[in-house]
Amino acid sequence: MDSTLVASAIPPVAVFLPLLGAIVGLPLGRVSERARAFGLGSICAVTAALTIALIPGVLGGAVYETYLLRLTPVIWLHLRVDALGALFGATVSVLWLLALVYSAGYMADEHRLGRYYAFFMLCLGWTLGVAYAGNLLTFLVFYELFSILTYPLVVHEETPAAMAAGTKYIIYILIGGSLVLLGVVFTFFLAGEQTFTVGGILDAGMNRTSLLVIFWCFIIGFGVKAALVPLHGWVPDAHPAAPAPFSAVLSGVMVAAGSFGIMRIVFQVFGVGLLAMLGVMPVLAGIAAFTVVFAAVLAVSQDNLKRRLAYSTISQMGYVTLGVALLGAEATTGALVHITNHAFMKGTLFLCAGLLIKRAGIHNVSEMAGAAKRMPVTMAAFALSALGMIGTPPLSGFISKWYLGLGILDVDQPLYLAVLLGGALLAAIYLLPIVYAAYFKPPPTIAAEDEAEGSEASASMLVPTVIASALTLVLGLAATVPGLPYSLAHMAAEGFFR
């Protein structure tokens, strides 16, 4: 399909509107918590609406482009919204909106809310910037901004565990970020500053060693964020330490931002042809496959609920990288769809985990017995998302696994099918016992049964959870409706493999 460049003000507005939210959050909070909730909520809703409003145009073949800043005659910061970016951007803003609404209830009795909301909104803006970045430099700027500014959210609780997790996080992320920077500089040295283009801005005429160095710099750099297995160390510590709404976006879209970066690199910096020639993708696929299985095995042996979910995130992001590494249109579609589907499924699971912590004091899997009697709506949402995670039709997890599976067969490597299904089976092993215990195991004490009534959380926490969970169903049942992830993912993947 032919794309037409359209100049539009929507992308920069969508990126910078949340920054406005970060600024007005503090004075609004002085007025009242209610004012802040409504103010930030409406800003976030407008942002989400803007990102969604971009989708019809993108589906029609338009590419929105805006130049932000000219640093030197050859270095530009500019935003460019293609199908890939539009999909990720919409996912980010919608999940953020849900998490923000949830925060209003969840964070009510926490400390330092001004700081929390300011950084929460900032990170939304920067993450959208990552989604809409038009060239490597813009991407790098936003990527580093959101990676580093996430730190205050990770350590928000300020417990020793949170501080330790934050230190770990920042060390990992800084090392990854430096490698990305190295890659960007190297790319600039080889190819000059160029807009992301399908087919890549590097070409086979360049020094092979340099290309390999650039590739691994990027993969290791983004791999830290995308939690590829030897680089995943920060994920299982950061998630349990962070507040639940932030865990949800951290797991849902921030880790995915690493995978998103890998996609930009693979398809629009190197290009499919060049990578096939370099012969590095089988290695990446191997790493991703190992990530899927190893993280899932580790998840089985975790007792802390959020830690288990964090390992599950690592495993699921392995699917995305695997889908990219296979270099097939179907597999890429599956990987892209999985980013969105996983965002809402894992988002729901973390929001539920937060509710369980807040309302029932349940931190560990071993304490789940009888939770469904106390919090029926929460556990229903949890169960639905857990089933989705396993890939049960007609939930959204099935859609991504289906296209990934077809993609694996498309590139004729049926052995990865075992990884795909093995990971899903392990997901069943680490998620279903939780659901089972919540519904069918008797609560540990009679007292716990007595407080059954009224354990369910307030609407501001419950509604976003239920909506996220419902999205799991909708994205599955109506998967191929134009405008929903599949159409965009398909369009993007078709573009990459034209």
Partner: protein, 883 residues
């Protein structure tokens, strides 16, 4: 496909699936409102579904296939109804209707009735979705839904037994689901498009085809209760409420059979055209043979296990396994015989229908018995035919059906299956198939024995217990349900032509198989003497088994645990979880070790850095202020700070003791108390000051004599020892304070006391006693510097030399000696002469001064270095420009 022209689009199949789903939503609100309205509603819902399924008959009579689409999931859900699908839909809805009718009474004594009926309607929709699905994705969707939602049936009673069974059921279902989706994926690898139709023959390797086939059969087989993945079935079916058992055993396991049937006869077969050459069927033949043998094994094991059961429902569940074996034999024979497989298809599928009818009736009947008596153990019942005559009659009909009594439905399908087996044998005269035929007859005998036992123990004979007044015949709704099923059984048993000609003939024609075999069967074999004889043989064997079993107590034998596959499955599961936990533990340990290493590295780095810094400082200090002197001076300075601290602490201690002393005398007035405190402070200060100067002079003396090197590292210990004398000081101070306040001069007494304490303390002796070994290197350096100082001529001598007239060379030598002497003098100068007059009160001042000194020293050194470097730079530039 030749029939492509006859495909009609009609929304009925899609509506059939959606209708129960929509109705399921209404169950809970209605149940909360009024139970009887809800009961009526679910009956109405299943009744409408039954009518809808019946409406497929005229539709299919007019067209060969009916299709429908729902826009959902990946594009659309596709439904295709052919005669086989219609048959499944018909008996499913019929048995469902009967079970629902039965459940209305039965569920009265169960909990969670709304959940039961909701589950029932959702599972009905899923079941219809499976059998009406037009492609594999749709089939998988409904198959998973069926398996997962039926979990609620299994766990319904929420007893411990039900929970154990349901966990096993859940995991087997999930595993089966994964095998199934894996198989479906691989059909795409074979070049398939996902429709329920032949996979292209040329796609993929032989291995891949076998793997695909294996995964599909395994996936469907778990649900079908196929050996060796049947282990969940005998646990799960008995623990459900009886109507649910009837549905699980009667209908839902048929979803698995349906899947295997389609796998063998629709997916792995050559394309659907008339008169294919026989070679094209060879693959189907191989697969069919595998399924056939699985079937034989399943039926034999199932019936053997059934004979050993006490619990009536558990026995029926094992018979479900066994009867699924019959069905698999039919499907396998159909595959093996290829285009001539009509007998196998008809036998297998007719047995599916029959089994649904009689197993449904048996579970409902046993359910009625349990409903009235509350007892399921066959050995504890008996003589119920008097109490429950109608139930007895219907159970008898159902038992006649399952054992294959002529004129009952089981007889027809068992004969068809038997003929299919014989035909399979006659195709290639494989000896193994002859054996299979013998096992088949034996299994029929075992079935007969088993049901003689059931009817005999439960309904005939003497009652083993006193039945209460509540034990009367079943309620009318239960009897109606049983009656409907019995009527259907009799109808098929007496007039099989209807279903054989009406359903199977068009179905076989649809899939391009030879349908004339069915006509041949009806004309020549149906109720022929040969077939009657085989039925009689089976009953004879059954009777023998029963008599021998009862006589020798064989029915109470149990195989050891490890004999069953269940044991090994559980061992494997435990093993797998152990491995997961082991990997997790190993990883945690690895992480811990890693972070330990990191910490060690960091500490090592820190200590190395500190050591380098210290040495650097030492070098700087040595160069700027001379080597050994500062070493002792440093010590003296620190010692002074420590002793000064000790002095202050002594005074504080004395004052606090004075407070205590005053507190013990509450009659002292405040003014007097203040005066006392002041006096104590003054006296203690004086004494402590004396102590300090004495101790300092001891140290200074030791420095002078060089003894200090030995005590340097023990000084702190000694200081801790002498702290004990604080109390002596405090004691004296308080004692003398009284006298001092009266205006008396006490200074002599104070001095005496200080002297006494000092002689007791003997600071110098304590120090010498504590003296350890000094560091040899420092001693050597010190000795060396002393030697150097002594060896060099004194300045007076040098002056003397200068006076005398010397040559230029001698003057240079003298100058350099003087320089060396100066350097030695400077670097070895003793600067430790600590003047007590320099005493500073606040230690912070001392510290600050030390810091300033150190800083100034460092800075000046650095500045000097910079100056030197700059000079060198200028020099090099000058040299460079000159050239």
């Amino acid at each position: 496909m030749p029939e492509a022209a006859h495909i009609a689009y009609h929304p009925l199949p899609a509506l059939l699936v959606l209708w129960p789903l929509v109705c399921a939503l209404a169950v809970r609100p209605l149940g909360r409102w009024r139970e009887d309205v809800r009961n009526g509603f679910v009956l109405f819902a299943t009744g409408v579904t039954l009518l809808g399924a019946a409406a497929l008959i005229p539709l299919l009579a007019a067209e060969h296939k009916v299709t429908a689409d729902l826009p959902a999931l990946i594009g659309r859900l596709h439904f295709v109804v052919d005669p086989y699908g219609m048959l499944f839909a018909l008996f499913t809805t019929f048995v469902w209707f009967c079970a629902t009718l039965h459940s209305l009474d039965y569920m009265q004594h169960e909990q969670h009735r709304d959940r039961f009926h909701t589950t029932s309607l959702v599972v009905l929709a899923a079941m219809l979705g499976v059998v009406l699905a037009g492609d594999l994705v749709t089939l998988y969707l409904f198959f998973e839904m069926l398996g997962l939602v039926a979990f609620l049936f299994v766990i319904h009673t929420e007893t411990d037994e039900a929970k154990r069974a349901s966990i096993k059921y859940l995991w087997m279902t999930v595993l089966g689901g994964f095998a199934l989706i894996g198989g479906i994926f691989l059909t795409y690898a074979l070049g398939h498009t996902g429709a329920i139709g032949p996979i292209p023959l040329e796609g993929g390797t032989e291995t891949l085809r076998w793997v695909t086939f294996g995964l599909l059969v395994l996936g469907f087989g778990v649900k079908a209760g196929m050996l060796p993945v049947h282990v969940w079935l005998p646990d799960a079916h008995p623990v459900a409420p009886s109507p649910a058992s009837a549905l699980l055993s009667g209908v839902m396991i048929k979803a698995g059979a349906y899947g295997i049937f389609r796998t063998v006869t629709a997916l792995f077969r050559p394309e659907v055209v008339e008169d294919l050459s026989e070679e094209l069927w060879h693959m189907t033949s191989d697969f069919g043979l595998v399924v056939l043998w699985i079937g034989i094994a399943t039926m034999a094991v199932g019936v053997t296990m059934a004979l050993g059961q006490h619990n009536a429902k558990r026995m029926l569940a094992y018979h479900s396994v066994s009867q699924m074996g019959f069905i698999l034999v039919g499907i396998g024979a159909a595959g093996y015989l290829g285009s001539h497989g009509a007998m196998g298809v008809a036998g297998g599928l007719l047995h599916v229908v029959n089994h649904a009818l009689f197993k449904g009736a048996l579970f409902l009947g046993i359910g009625a018995v349990a409903f009235r008596t509350g007892e399921l153990d066959m050995y504890k019942l008996g003589g119920l035919w008097r109490k429950m005559p109608w139930t007895f009659v219907f159970m008898l009909i159902a038992a006649a059906g399952i054992t294959g009594v002529p004129l009952f439905n089981g007889f027809v399908s068992k004969c068809l299956l038997h003929h299919a087996l014989v035909e399979a044998y006659e195709l290639n005269h494989m000896v193994s198939l002859d054996i299979a035929e013998k096992i088949y007859i034996l299994t029929c005998g075992g079935t007969a024995a088993s049901f003689i036992k059931l009817i005999g123990f439960v309904f005939l004979g003497k009652p083993k217990q006193e039945y209460g007044p509540g034990v009367v015949d079943s309620p009318p709704r239960m009897l109606t349900a049983l009656g409907l099923l019995s009527a259907a059984m009799l109808a098929i048993g007496i007039r099989p032509h209807l279903i054989l000609k009406g359903v199977f003939a068009p179905g076989l024609h649809e899939w391009a198989l030879h349908a004339d075999l069915l006509d041949y069967f009806l004309k020549n074999y149906f109720l022929s003497p040969d077939d009657l004889m085989s039925a009689v043989t089976a009953f004879a064997i059954g009777g023998t088994i029963f008599v021998v079993g009862i006589r020798f107590g064989l029915f109470h034998l149990h195989a050891p645990k490890w004999f069953g596959v269940d044991y090994w499955y559980q061992a494997a599961t435990r093993g797998f979880l152990t491995v997961c936990a082991y990997v997790g533990g190993w990883y945690e340990r690895y992480l811990a070790a890693f972070s330990r290493t990191l910490r060690t590295l960091r500490l090592g780095y820190r200590s190395t850095y500190l050591r380098i810094e210290r040495n650097w400082r030492r070098i700087v200090v040595t160069i700027t202020t001379g080597a050994p002197g500062p070493r002792n001076q440093h010590f003296i300075q620190n010692a002074y700070i420590a002793l000064e601290r000790e002095r202050q602490s002594t005074v504080r201690y004395a004052v606090s003791r004075a407070h205590e002393w005053l507190r013990a005398r509450p009659d002292t007035g405040p003014e007097r108390a203040w005066a006392t405190i002041d006096a104590v402070r003054d006296i203690a200060s004086y004494m402590a000051q004396r102590q300090l100067s004495q101790r300092m002079s001891v140290l200074a003396e030791m420095v002078r004599t060089g003894e200090i090197e030995a005590v340097r590292y023990r000084f702190r210990d000694v200081l801790a020892q002498v702290r004990l004398f604080q109390s002596a000081v405090a004691h004296t101070a308080i004692e003398l304070a009284e006298r001092r306040m009266t205006g008396e001069d006490v200074i002599r007494d104070i001095s005496a006391e200080v002297n006494r304490i000092s002689s007791e303390e003997r600071f110098d002796r304590r120090l010498r006693k504590a003296a350890g070994v000094s560091r040899p290197s420092t001693v050597r350096v010190q000795r060396l510097s002393t030697h150097a100082r002594e060896a060099l001529p004194s300045s007076v001598a040098l002056m003397d030399w200068r006076v005398r007239g010397l040559g230029r060379f001698e003057r240079a030598a003298r100058w350099s000696v003087e320089i060396v002497r100066l350097i030695v003098e400077v670097t070895t100068q003793e600067r430790s002469t600590w003047l007590l007059s320099d005493r500073l009160d606040a230690e912070s001042v001392i510290e600050t001064r030390r810091h300033i000194q150190r800083y100034a020293r460092d800075m000046s050194f650095n500045m000097a270095m910079i100056l030197v470097l700059m000079l060198m730079l200028m020099l090099s530039i000058a040299i460079g420009t000159n050239r």
